[in-house]
């Protein structure tokens, strides 16, 4: 399904990029939105920016389609959810139990998956102007009651799948809204950057899912500020609350539960064969960097830090085998692109430094 070209106020179309950037920084909410929209979609500007940064021009299949979505108008939303019940078997897809617009079912797993899919879609639409996982309104499918006492949730490349937990170690895996955000974001990452699910690129992949899972949760809580947010992933998942409050903490990696081994600094990076090279462990490092950037910038993290990370994710220079430092560099560069002359760039750079990911002095080309 092709995306319709975005409508922009005609005045903004004739303004030169530097004026648009000023408006993007200092205008009213509506003006800023229109200016950002124009800047991002304008092919001349993209070309100029690419030349300035000595990077290849993004192809039409990436920037143009995604950034031409209508801003905030409901007729462009293409939220199409379907939740399936796997009846405690591992056979997919299971049978459909709730489709888009259908009322609540009183099955917690079904309704939580449904709401989580919706919240994730709404977050991406409002805060990042992204129309579902593929930016073309891909239907969002969730599959619950997967397996018997299945202690996991995963993304199979096309859909989200949730177990009920065994009730001893874990509760059902739809219990925290960030889990749905986390799983769907794997789809976004695969669509954009294809970060290889191994070692550092895999830990980045994991971190990006934790980042946007958290931003979805904070969005759902009324766009909580970074200071007020708890930065916990999987709150309520432990069947025994004495074990811990959550599965991971972005604010304080290693503190979420008794036995949490996430590092918060490169000096504690875990080299292991397990877990695809510790992708769920070493994600603590970039998670902490995002937390520091978000709290350093202030306000709801989905307003500035989220878009900075998103721009880095979609940056043509981000390779599937990216290391932490390569991704960090792109967040710094994109902080400068999105907020030229602002404090964000330095805040982002220092956030990475604090977790031991140190960029060379000149981190962007002349």
């Amino acid at each position: 399904m092709r995306q319709q070209p975005g409508h922009r106020h005609s005045i903004f179309c004739i303004l030169p990029p530097h004026v648009l950037r000023d408006i993007a920084r200092t205008g009213t909410e509506e003006q800023r939105e229109a200016a950002l929209d124009t800047l991002a979609a304008d092919p001349t500007f993209r070309t100029l920016r690419a030349i300035r940064l000595a990077a290849p021009v993004a192809s039409a299949s990436t920037a143009t389609v995604s950034l031409s979505a209508k801003v905030g108008t409901s007729e462009a939303k293409q939220l199409q959810r379907a939740v399936f019940d796997c009846d405690n078997r591992r056979r997919l897809p299971g049978h459909p139990v709730r489709t888009e617009g259908a009322p609540a079912t009183n099955d917690d797993a079904v309704d939580e998956a449904y709401d989580g899919l919706g919240a994730t879609y709404d977050f991406y639409w409002e805060m990042l102007r992204r129309n579902s996982i593929d930016n073309r309104g891909l239907p969002l499918n969730g599959h619950v009651h997967y397996g018997r006492r299945y202690n996991n949730a995963f993304w199979d490349g096309q859909r989200m799948i949730f177990g009920n937990g065994d009730g001893v170690l874990f509760n059902r895996f739809t219990i925290a809204i960030d889990i749905m955000g986390h799983e769907l974001t794997h789809g976004v990452t695969e669509n954009e950057a294809q970060l290889i699910y191994q070692d550092q690129s895999g830990a980045l992949n994991e971190s990006i899912s934790d980042v946007y899972g958290s931003l979805v949760k904070q969005y759902h809580n009324g766009k909580q500020s970074a200071e007020d947010a708890d930065w916990l992933i999987g709150e309520g998942l432990w069947a025994d609350p004495a074990r811990g409050e959550a599965l991971r903490s972005m604010k304080d990696p290693g503190s979420a539960f008794d036995g949490d081994q996430q590092p918060a600094h490169m000096s504690d990076y875990v080299s292991t064969i397990d877990d695809n090279g510790g992708v769920h462990i070493n994600s603590g490092i970039p998670n902490k960097a995002f937390y520091l950037a978000a709290t350093g910038i202030g306000g709801y993290a989905g307003t500035k830090a989220g878009p900075i990370w998103y721009a880095a994710l979609r940056d043509p220079r981000l390779k599937p085998d990216a290391s932490f430092v390569q991704f960090a560099r792109l967040t710094v560069i994109n902080a400068d692109i999105l907020f030229p002359g602002g404090p964000e760039r330095q805040i982002v750079r220092e956030a990475w430094e604090q977790v031991g990911v140190v960029l060379p002095k000149r981190s962007d080309p002349t």
């Binding site: 996991n152 949730a153 995963f154 799983e183 794997h186 789809g187 877990d275």
Partner: protein, 100 residues
């Protein structure tokens, strides 16, 4: 027959629980030992490929490693969620239950 079972990775990956668990059919009640042997047979275990890759773009899947050693033969397989074959599903669920 000695069966070793390991689960790795997953959204709620716990490094403490990653050590493989070994089951010796000689130490199981007779019914369970027969059941396990039947499940291994039904899954065509000794003909399964040694490794199978996760689906493209997949994440947070569990990775399973099963080793079976009998006097006649031994074999180890590594595979991930989603498990497509119902017989392999049944074997995994049996092993999960025994090693919880």
């Amino acid at each position: 027959m000695r069966v070793q079972f390991k689960m790795d990775g997953g959204f709620a990956y716990l490094p403490d629980r990653v050590a493989p668990v070994t089951i010796d059919t000689d130490e199981l009640p007779e019914e369970e030992a027969s059941e396990l042997e039947r499940l291994i047979e039904a899954a065509g275990f000794f003909d399964l490929p040694e490794t199978s890759a996760a689906p493209r773009g997949a994440a947070d899947y569990l990775r399973y490693t099963i080793s079976v050693a009998s006097p006649e033969q031994s074999h180890t397989v590594h595979f991930t969620d989603p498990i497509e074959d119902p017989d392999l599903q049944a074997l995994v669920e049996f092993l999960e239950d025994k090693t919880r």
